[in-house]
Amino acid sequence: MDGPLVMVWVVRLLFLALLYLFLARVVRSLLRDLRAAARERGATLGRLIVVESPGGDPEAGRSFDLDAITTLGRDVNNAIVVEDPFASFDHAVLTYRGRSWYVEDLGSTNGTYVNGRPIASVAPLGFGDELSIGQVRMRLERARSA
């Protein structure tokens, strides 16, 4: 076995080893990223951001973290209190079922609107969709990550 041939073999195996070293480093950084995301999430399934609120309560720009069942209305016992003259006391409820959000109108006087359209009873709500209760407009967004 002469020297050059051994070197050729060393270089060949080194290249394959480096490919796997690279893959291992990439996977390590992916795992770190996933763990960080897992720590951060879990608490919330999504959030509701107030886009417009003429009454100022809740103020525009405020963000609510959502539970799997979140009630909205003027009554103070609601998870999100919407202090708007056009909102009913128990106006609507947001629920997370399966893998998506749904909004249900609880027989409010003025109805609940998704993207400007009134909903009959229950309607699916996608991330990025706008929910209107009284004059308050809110947008459903994913939980903030990293």
């Binding site: 270089v11 394959l16 990439v26 992916l30 886009v51 417009e52 109805g111 990550s145």
Partner: protein, 484 residues
């Protein structure tokens, strides 16, 4: 914008910030990973030189250095721009491109030649030019794209452009090797189906995110299966028809399979309903069986796939040679530059640089190397799905998912074709196959993924039709009417 005033402050006028307002942000993960890419490619180049010439030196040092400089430039540009985008994507794609460069330098240079300014460039140099252009395109898109409105708002325009492109290829495309893929416009020749896959994803992201609520609803019942309202199934049927048309007219099984698989994957991602996917798959296989019955060229492809050894020197030649190449490679391969004994001055597998790069890698890097390459593709898919999972709204989520899946599914289709797992189709192995259209379009995909992963991108715009509800409001109490 509608006329009503908004409480939020109006967006400040964004002047193009070229210089003077630079906020560099270090990207250590990317820098470290790119370092390993550099070392690995240098070792690979030495190994290639040892295999081809017997000397332990860099093989074509110029090309390798230019490519590594391009990657470094992409990294520095993103650091200077202060982007908080994904740091794994560029090194992984850079590694795939580097492997491509080594492979193309290694194959006979006269497979592709181009005359530029009096000198003749061979396969490796042409591929290097496309790779560097691809790096530039991906980086520029990743830095410049700060808003996705141009994709989001014009989804039907994009769809129309895509269909127009498809029709142009149907009518004016030139037949190469029995497939009508190439469209020539004067001196420029390209493969529109490469671009079409991105347009398809953009359109589907727009369509599915807008109609997601309706697709989730289960109105129509068909025996035990519950379907969304019938009008919303129309695009599905249209997609099915287009996929079959591509098979019949373009004779491009790969593109049809790719488009339909991406379509079904995105429908599933958007609705989470497996029944739609099952129905789509059944439709596709029923249609394929029918088409295979009616058209001999499809039938022939499938026959070759089922038994390439029936005609090992004719129809089955490519795939038989590919299988032999994998077999010669074994576990760790013959080493770069030492495989592929030529037959009469040609490599044994026809079109090895476009259709069979995986077979060439399988021979020279072995099973170990092929698994590493497939692992890199899995990382690309994982990054895309991660970017989609943390996107702010449905459009971006579906867009990122689709862009990653387009690359992943395409890699799977051609890898499976080379290995005789699926019928052989003419799609390229992303980032590795020779070819300008393929490299540039995949660079666009990477650029868009980088842009979407940036945590500083413009927030998604509010959905349309937001204000119609205002006219219908009735005050709950008479007294509150005055308050408004």
């Amino acid at each position: 914008m509608t006329g009503t005033s908004r409480p939020a402050t109006p967006a400040p006028v964004q002047l193009p910030r070229i210089l003077g307002d630079i906020h560099p942000r270090p990207r250590w993960t990317e820098a470290r990973l790119l370092g390993i890419v550099g070392i690995a490619l240098v070792v690979g180049s030495i190994s290639l030189s040892a295999g081809l010439t017997g000397r332990l030196a860099l093989y074509d040092p110029q090309g390798l250095i230019i490519y590594l400089l391009a990657l470094t430039g992409a990294h520095v540009a993103q650091v200077l721009a202060g982007r908080r985008s994904d740091e794994v994507l560029l090194p992984v794609v850079g590694m795939l491109g580097g492997i491509s460069l080594l492979l193309m330098q290694r194959l006979p240079q006269d497979l592709v030649t181009t005359d530029v300014g009096g000198s003749t460039l061979g396969l490796g140099d042409v591929q290097l030019i496309w790779l560097v252009l691809g790096v530039i395109v991906a980086t520029t898109l990743g830095i410049v794209v700060r808003s996705d409105n141009w994709l989001r708002q014009y989804k039907y325009t994009w769809a129309a452009a895509g269909i127009a492109l498809l029709l142009l290829t149907f009518v004016f495309g030139s037949d190469v090797a029995g497939q009508r893929l190439t469209l020539r416009l004067g001196p420029i020749a390209g493969q529109p189906s490469e671009l079409l896959k991105v347009i398809l994803v953009v359109f589907l992201a727009g369509y599915l995110s807008e109609n997601r609520p309706l697709l989730i609803e289960q109105d129509t019942r068909l025996g035990p299966i519950r379907l969304p309202p019938l009008p919303y199934l129309a695009p599905m049927v249209a997609m099915w028809a287009i996929a079959l048309l591509i098979v019949v007219i373009q004779r491009d099984l790969g593109a049809a399979l790719l488009f339909f698989a991406v379509f079904l994957a995105l429908v599933y991602a958007a609705t989470g309903r497996i029944s739609l996917v099952v129905i789509g798959a059944i439709l596709f296989f029923a249609g394929s069986a029918l088409v295979a019955d009616l058209f001999p060229h499809v039938r022939e492809r499938i026959d070759i796939w089922l038994d390439p050894f029936a005609d090992p020197l004719g129809a089955g030649y490519q795939i038989v040679q590919s299988l032999h190449a994998f077999a010669r490679g074994g576990l760790i391969g013959t080493g770069l530059g030492e495989g592929l004994p030529t037959v009469g001055g040609r490599p044994p597998i026809p079109e090895v640089h476009t259709d069979f790069p995986l077979a060439a890698l399988g021979e020279e890097l072995g099973l170990v190397g092929v698994i590493a390459v497939l692992g890199l593709f899995f990382v690309v898919i994982e990054r895309g799905l991660r970017i989609g999972a943390s996107a702010a709204d449905d459009f971006r989520a579906i867009l990122a998912t689709g862009l990653a899946l387009v690359i992943g599914i395409q890699a799977f289709i051609i890898a499976a074709g080379n290995l005789k797992v699926l019928p052989l189709t003419g799609v390229t192995l992303p980032f590795i196959s020779y070819g300008g259209s393929s490299l540039l379009v995949n660079a666009v995909v990477v650029g868009l993924l980088l842009a979407l992963s940036d945590k500083g991108v413009e927030p998604p715009p509010p959905p349309d039709r937001v204000r119609r509800w205002r006219d219908r409001l009735r005050p709950r109490r008479a007294s509150s009417r005055r308050a408004i």
